[in-house]
């Protein structure tokens, strides 16, 4: 926490080393967060890269109220929401169903390297609703408080807590049934 405050202060003073340290410290966590929310590797990579680029551009006007980890996590979560919205826009705009082979566009090199644990957990997470998934991941993985998640989702803290509870129950049942296979 103190390290983060110092890093932010140095970053605002124009320190490249501080930015590199922030990047190294949080890139994996943010990629993991974006992957869990999206289950789309290419989009998750783009969102995290975009998040860091705009963070780098914001040094002069940056105001981190709480901790840096939550600040970056919210930034990724908001971008994921925008991405979901824009994808929906493209679908609704028509002919999305008529683009079956366009989606085969391949990226030259991937940032995230898949591992089985990630795959399995993501498959389970994707059986939750988006709101439940967001609460579970932001709370457990990004360490965000329920109050902050409630603000992000625009709902009451009680709703967030029940989403968390139901989400975990469902995950338990999914992973338990997998275990019995």
């Amino acid at each position: 926490m103190i390290e983060d405050k110092l890093l932010i202060w140095k970053f605002k003073q124009g320190s490249t080393d501080a930015l590199c340290r922030i990047y190294e410290k949080y890139k994996d966590k943010l990629l993991r967060l974006a992957m869990s929310l999206l289950n789309d590797t290419a989009a998750a990579e783009d969102i995290v890269q975009d998040c860091f680029v705009s963070f780098a551009q914001s040094s002069q006007r940056l105001k981190v109220g709480g901790n840096l980890k939550s600040y970056l996590a919210i930034s990724v979560a908001n971008r994921v929401r925008n991405w979901n919205r824009s994808r929906k826009r493209q679908e609704i705009a028509g002919l999305s169903e008529a683009e079956p082979i366009i989606s085969s566009y391949k990226r030259p090199e991937q940032w995230i390297i898949y591992n089985e644990e990630l795959c399995r957990l993501n498959n389970a997470l994707f059986q939750l609703s988006y709101e439940q998934r967001e609460v579970v991941i932001l709370h457990l993985h990004s360490g965000m408080k329920f109050r902050a998640i409630a603000e992000l989702q625009g709902v009451s803290i009680n709703t967030v807590q029940s989403r968390y509870r139901y989400g975990l129950d469902k995950l338990r049942s999914i992973l338990n049934s997998e275990a019995k296979l």
Binding site: D28, Q57, E91, E109, Q110, R172, L175
Partner: protein, 417 residues
């Protein structure tokens, strides 16, 4: 697997591996952005009009007075307005007469995402369609030309021209035309209104300049795509003198508010196109890679099997081929568009050392980011990796139909271990 109570620990601790080269590339981009932002002096944003208004009591009162006057004015205006004389049939007739249609789609932030040209024959049947897509999925600009069931698709940056005949694709094209060709769109909402799926409101202005506004509000899940959809709204802007549709704005209901998704615009009607617009052969560069799906020999014939049975069979055949080290057969069962990709695929699958199939006997529905036309297949295998025998059971193999070959299926998504 793991005990249930460890779930929180599992989520907290799960890590991700990243490609070190890409790490460096991304960091370089971040540092470049940082460097630029240090050079650029931050501009002082002038205060917005709204801020000026709310800062002072006097301006607040003045603004409130202006709003009240405007509302009263509007009420008087609406009271004086006459009963609508416009009817939807006028627009259907006006738009139907055009044999050539040209329209463009803009996203809510103003970027042009699609441009379409349609040509009908003398009997009113669709003859030719061209659609230009901008940066599909953040990747290529794509041009699609459809002529009586045959499709050409040119991915500009990938320099790839794909040819295929596909009935399902043709159905989607016709559906697209019916949605956004203005004559068909208006006919469609009129039909849906009779079925109780759409509510239509028409506002005809008293002056002769402003457009007629036709608002269609759809019941949830009646709009466009398969799968659940929120309540949608479309606003048609209709020219008063010609009765032609000039634009259709599209909205979705979210948190009790309509969010604008984009707008279709119709800049011209019945302007004859150059016939070349529907002939990509003359337009694509000579070095483009032509891929003819009609001639591709990939996938597995479905025969009399159900979708679930054939999905399981294709995955079984794939892993049996790997065990037998028959990489040519295995490659034929994996999605690829270009025969030139086969040596590379074979090189990759040779690294998968499958020792034994424990079970491949179940299918599962696709995750949300995949089309509903695909089916997942669960399997448990034993593979040799780093000198050890390990159990491998990821749920990430998906099967779908081969484009243009409706009776064939193929593994279209597969992550290497």
């Amino acid at each position: 697997m793991r005990p249930a109570e460890n779930i929180e620990k599992l989520i907290k601790n799960i890590n991700i591996d990243t490609n070190a080269d890409v790490d460096k590339t991304v960091l370089n981009d971040v540092l470049k952005a940082f460097g630029k932002s240090k050079i650029t002096k931050s501009a002082i944003t002038p205060p917005s009009i709204w801020r000026i208004i709310i800062k002072s009591k006097i301006t607040k009162l003045a603004a409130a007075a202006v709003i009240i006057i405007a509302v009263v004015g509007l009420l008087i205006f609406f009271e004086k307005s006459v009963t609508p004389a416009y009817s939807i049939e006028q627009t259907i007739k006006a738009c139907q007469d055009a044999r050539f249609k040209h329209f463009e789609y803009f996203g809510s932030s103003g970027e042009r995402m699609k441009e379409a040209w349609l040509e009908y024959d003398d009997s009113g049947q669709i003859k030719n369609i061209r659609v230009n897509f901008s940066k599909v999925g953040g990747g290529d600009d794509v041009v699609m030309v459809w002529k009586q069931g045959r499709t050409q698709q040119w991915s500009k940056q990938s320099k790839r021209l794909t040819l295929f005949d596909d009935r399902i694709y043709t159905d989607k094209i016709i559906f697209f035309v019916q949605r956004y060709d203005p004559a068909r769109a208006v006919e469609n909402i009129q039909k849906m209104e009779k079925e109780g799926k759409v509510e239509i409101n028409i506002d005809e202005p008293s002056n002769k300049i402003d457009p007629i506004i036709l608002t269609a509000i759809y019941e949830p899940n009646t709009f466009l795509l398969e799968g659940p959809m929120p309540q949608m709204k479309e606003i048609f802007f209709i020219d008063q003198s010609t009765k032609l549709v000039k634009a259709i704005e599209i909205y979705e209901l979210k948190d009790d508010q309509y969010l604008e998704l984009g707008v279709w615009k119709y800049p011209d009607y019945d302007t004859t196109f150059d016939a070349k617009i529907f002939n990509l052969e003359d337009e694509v560069p000579s070095d483009v890679n032509v891929i003819d799906w009609r001639a591709l020999d990939i996938g597995l014939e479905q025969g009399d099997l159900t979708d679930e049975q054939v999905a399981i069979k294709i995955v079984q055949e794939f892993f049996k081929a790997l065990i037998a080290k028959d990489y040519a057969t295995a490659t034929k069962l994996l999605y690829h568009e270009d025969p030139k990709e086969e040596p590379e695929i074979q090189k990759k699958i040779k690294n998968i050392n499958v020792l034994r199939i424990i079970s491949i006997d179940k299918t599962f529905p696709p995750p949300p980011d995949k089309s509903k036309k695909v089916l997942g297949v669960s399997r448990i295998l034993e593979i040799g990796k780093d000198g050890q025998i390990i159990r491998w059971e990821p749920n990430n193999i998906f099967v779908s139909r081969v484009l243009g070959h409706p009776n064939r299926l193929i593994i279209n998504s597969f992550k290497y271990p």
